[in-house]
């Protein structure tokens, strides 16, 4: 239903910090039709070539300035994931994604105010790392 919102095209790339590749990131829109505080994000899962990225390696940011782990996000009520503004999802991993082609999948699960089950979306993309 909101799958089309997940994992924006051409956003998956390695992150370089102090001339070292420390992981990779990708961007996604929300699986909902309005913005909500980050505390209402139930789960974010990243899968690379069939393997899950460990939950504790994932960091998210709505502004590219302040980053939160998924456990931390549970209490983050003053940063809003706006509708139409992508969330950046980072996975910490020394060396990032190896050169070549990867199958990367992203799951986004958010709580709504009134629907008893969380709203989920998933998108897998073939990603080329140069």
């Amino acid at each position: 239903m909101f799958d089309n919102n997940v994992f924006l095209e051409n956003t998956c790339k390695n992150i370089e910090e102090a001339s070292k590749i420390t992981g990779f990131e990708l961007k996604t829109n929300i699986t909902y039709y309005r913005g909500i505080p980050l505390s209402m994000v139930n789960d974010i899962r990243v899968e690379v070539d069939g393997e899950n990225v460990p939950r504790e390696s994932i960091l998210c940011s709505v502004d590219g300035v302040d980053w939160f782990t998924l456990d931390e996000m549970e209490t983050v009520t003053s940063y809003k994931w706006e509708y139409g503004e992508p969330l950046t999802v980072r996975a910490r991993k020394d060396g990032g994604l190896a050169k070549g082609t990867h199958e990367v999948a992203l799951d986004v699960v958010v709580r709504t105010a009134y629907i008893p089950v969380p709203l989920a979306g998933r998108k897998a993309r073939t990603v080329e790392i140069a």
Binding site: M1, F2, D3, N4, N5, N29, Y33, R34, G35, I36, P37, S39, M40, N42, E74, T75, T77, K80, E82, Y83, G84, E85, R111, A113, Y114
Partner: protein
């Protein structure tokens, strides 16, 4: 002078906005160019940092409203009762959040708030002084799947009747009047998820018999046995569960609530080639409202956008225009008869 007034919910254009094909200004301009005079607005959707937007954001809102002569009719407000994972908000927390929404609506020039379904009844009395002070009416949405038979809806209605204030009422979503299951929803489930034709036929048949999945499920304390036998995959289950979000009520269910009804969502799933809504008979519904003397707004709320198959074009603009043309022409016909 028409009594039933039309407007468009910006919910209808959510994909245009999300994917940045249309900015908020583009949406205002598009609607103004097509003689739409009123809008329904979701602050959480198209106004950053709502309910505390920046001064700049508010100045931009004022500019758009005055440039395009748009009347902001109603704000769709949500209550994040589950903002924390480990507990529900208290009464005091709920009331405080909604006070901020009332102040924002007032600032935006909006006199009516749609409270999302399932908002607890205990917020109403403490909010009344704020509703009066800021001249903003609070109206609970009656939405299919969370309709008149749901406990929290009944609790709200009971409290609304007890308080009997002009500042408390209801918004009716026309999704409670589906004569047929939306075809776009069934197609999406079948083609993308793999729901079987047998399960879809079963649900279509429920509507054909003049009832709806929700009532059937309630009668049987769950899915009836013959339906259970058909449910073979996750996609079948998803479809069967989701189908209870479309109700098939008679218009007369509104009779006793008419004095409290402040607004209608005219839900739109799919305009057909014959310029009718596939599931909801708007001619019939408008005839009913005309006879009852309804004088509020009816708002086009397109929701077929969520059932567009990947790779297919989004048709929010076309669908909104076709639906507006339909409901305006029906209203003109109904009200024109009284000229003589």
């Amino acid at each position: 002078m028409s009594k039933i007034k039309t407007c468009v919910s910006l919910y209808s254009l959510q994909d245009e906005y999300l994917n940045k094909r249309m900015s908020l200004e583009d949406i205002f301009k598009f609607l103004a160019d097509n003689s739409v005079e009123g809008i329904e607005f979701l602050p959480d959707q198209m106004m950053h940092n709502s309910p505390h937007p920046s001064k700049e954001t508010l100045a931009e809102w004022d500019r758009l409203v005055s440039t395009y002569k748009m009347k902001p009719v109603i704000a769709d407000v949500f209550l994040n009762t589950n903002i924390y994972k480990n507990r529900e908000l208290t009464q005091k927390e709920c009331v405080n959040l909604l006070i901020e929404e009332i102040k924002l609506a007032n600032r935006l020039g909006i006199r009516l708030i749609r409270l999302v379904s399932m908002v607890p009844a205990f917020v109403i009395e403490p909010l009344l002084p704020y509703a009066e002070k800021y001249n903003v009416t609070l109206a609970l949405e009656i939405h299919a799947g969370l309709g008149f038979d749901v406990q929290k809806t009944q609790d709200f209605i009971k409290e609304m009747k007890r308080l009997n204030s002009p500042y408390v009422g209801l918004v009716i979503d026309a999704g409670i009047f589906c004569k047929r299951l939306p075809r776009v929803m069934a197609n999406y489930c079948q083609q993308l998820l793999g729901t079987s034709q047998e399960v879809i036929d079963y649900v279509n048949n429920i509507f054909a018999q003049g009832t709806d999945p929700r009532k059937v499920i309630l009668e049987h304390n769950g899915f009836p046995d013959d339906l259970k036998k058909l449910l073979k995959s996750e996609a079948d289950h998803f479809f069967a569960h989701f189908a209870d979000g479309y109700e098939n009520e008679p218009y007369s269910i509104l009779d006793e609530y008419m004095p409290f009804i402040k607004h209608f969502h005219f839900k739109l799933f799919e305009m057909t080639e014959s310029c009718e809504e596939y599931s909801i008979d708007y001619k019939g519904l408008l005839q009913y409202l005309h006879e009852k003397g309804y004088e509020g707004y009816v708002s086009t709320e397109y929701e077929g956008n969520r059932w567009v198959l990947p790779g297919n074009p989004m048709e929010e603009i076309e669908q909104v225009l076709a639906h507006q043309a339909l409901i305006r022409s029906v209203i003109n016909e109904l009200e024109g008869q009284e000229v003589y």
